[in-house]
Symmetry: C2
Subunit: 329 residues, 2 copies
């Protein structure tokens, strides 16, 4: 598959962030001409260190997706556009709903309008979130599951998905939505403390702080290692039909928070405290969640290949000698 | 029920528009202290003539919902807030998606944030639309029907509903969403030509222009007379539980476009042309639609009491001597 990207022009929004920078690294290795668009918003996970290894092999454009004028120019002449930029913190979306709306809805709509007029042939992959489903009514959650998001982030991401679907259906743009579940791995944001519990845990573990588990720790989630997610994004961009459909990414072996903690314990020293749920987190908590990615697997041949122990070990090794990436901001 | 509003402070956003001004008239008659908020955006249906009969009995505040600073002040001290302001044209939402987003999402979120901090006890009624369902999978459409909006307006209204639901669930605001179907009656906007076919028809009929019917005219819709919708809004605001639920308004006797045309023919002279669907309208057309309002009827005791022939006759009589309200802009 790698030769398909040779000389192709690729735009990655949120290119300095966790998944964006991993995708950039993979595409640079495939000899694509990659441009990263990032606003370097503080606390959003974007850092220049994320592209330190291949900085000279990409173009970097620092600008804000909320600025429609720069976007109009930047979307042009790209064969592929990967839309990774986003406000991803559920808790931040409740504290600053207007910011979440501007980044997760307004900017996506603006990007689509720009593509409609200035680059209608680009192949566009949008990364959405399992959060669009809200509290699971059954498990594993498939794409037919009702969509009743429980926080501003989920509401806005669902609207954004619908824009990508609409622009495919009405204007013939080539778009696809991937609903990511928890993603982890090298370059993940370990500093903000508001990006989900695995990010928080790993940050604390590396800083040798005590981990706090909300509730009994039996809550289950599924986790994808970032290399598997990058593989999914690339496969999505190659599909014959890109008609705005939305597909889950998932891992077939979900596990509880307690299981994660014991896996981490096998890798390094760890201190754990069990505490009650903070009120503002309980209000938007969705309980157990794991998804089915059967639809996307059938369509694309994708399968996650990294298991949690290996993935966590790789992640810890990546971060161990980079304290600047896990020390609290 | 009328005494419940005596001396109560009521804010109506979009108060100079079609439904807003009819609601204002009803609440003034119930001795409420009514403030109308309106931006008088051209082509949105708001006109001062709509409140000519009771202008001195309401307060009028001309400002834009998109301005969060005025809103912060305006929401305060109201017992009731009726959120009627909106961009309602499906076709305009496709031509100007960012405007639709700003009015239908950003402004609603802003209003909720203002209420959360400055008036958490207000009883808030939000008017949504049947457009959140998209193309019906079955008829009549009830609230369990999948929500797959086919245009920007439907996507954004669905997101706005979700905000109203979220702020009820998470912050305890008292909110309810009513999903309106086609509404008609005195003060409806007959001038823009982009507000649905009944508005377009009545405008043309009164201007003695030829009506154009897209397709075969067998497409069915349900229609509520505005007095029935005002009754529903008032009942909604009185419900014991206002927990963000969304309920259909509907009419139990849907009818085809051809039926409407023959009803109109019985009332006045009429010229009709059958033409193919214009491409931009076909792209977002939803085919037959009619809903079930059984849930809201059970909850509130509401029932639409006006049949189409009576409603149309009242409407035509209202407009007949007011050419300034139906001459094209």
């Amino acid at each position: 598959m790698s030769d398909l990207f040779v000389g192709k022009r690729v735009l990655i929004t949120g290119g300095l962030g966790f998944i964006g920078s991993n995708l950039a690294s993979a595409l640079v290795n495939r000899d694509a001409k990659v441009m990263l668009l990032d606003s370097l918003l503080p606390e959003y996970g974007a850092v220049l260190e994320n592209i330190a290894d291949f900085e000279r092999m990409v173009k970097l454009n620092i600008s804000d997706l909320r600025d429609p004028h720069s976007l109009r120019y930047l979307v042009q002449n790209n064969d592929y556009i990967f839309c990774l930029a986003g406000q991803v913190s559920h808790i931040d979306s409740m504290a600053s709903p207007m910011t979440d709306l501007a980044i997760n809805c307004q900017s996506q709509l603006s990007l689509l309008e720009c593509c409609r007029y200035y680059n209608p042939d680009a192949r566009i992959v949008f990364t959405s979130t399992r959060q669009v489903y809200g509290k699971p009514e059954y498990l594993p959650v498939d794409e037919k599951h009702p969509k009743v998001p429980v926080d501003i982030n989920g509401i806005n991401k669902l609207a954004a998905e619908s824009y990508y679907e609409l622009y495919a259906r009405v204007y013939g743009l080539k778009t696809i939505n991937l609903r990511l579940t928890n993603t982890y791995g090298p370059r993940m944001d370990l500093r903000s403390g508001r990006k989900g519990f695995l990010n928080t845990f790993l940050g604390k573990v590396l800083r040798e702080e005590t981990i706090q588990i909300f509730g009994d720790g039996e809550q289950r989630r599924d986790f994808n290692y970032v290399d598997d997610v990058v593989d999914a994004l690339i496969r999505a961009s190659q599909l014959e039909t890109m008609e705005g459909g939305a597909f889950n990414l998932a891992h077939p072996r979900p596990c509880s928070i307690n299981t994660i903690v014991s896996t981490l314990k096998s890798l390094l020293d760890l201190h754990v405290d069990y505490v009650p749920f903070p009120k503002e987190i309980k209000a938007i908590d969705i309980g157990d969640y794991y998804g089915s990615s059967a639809q996307f697997e059938e369509l694309s041949g994708w399968k996650p290949s990294t298991e949690l122990p290996t993935g966590l070990q790789n992640t810890i090794e990546f971060f161990r000698d980079k304290p600047q990436l896990f020390e609290a901001q």
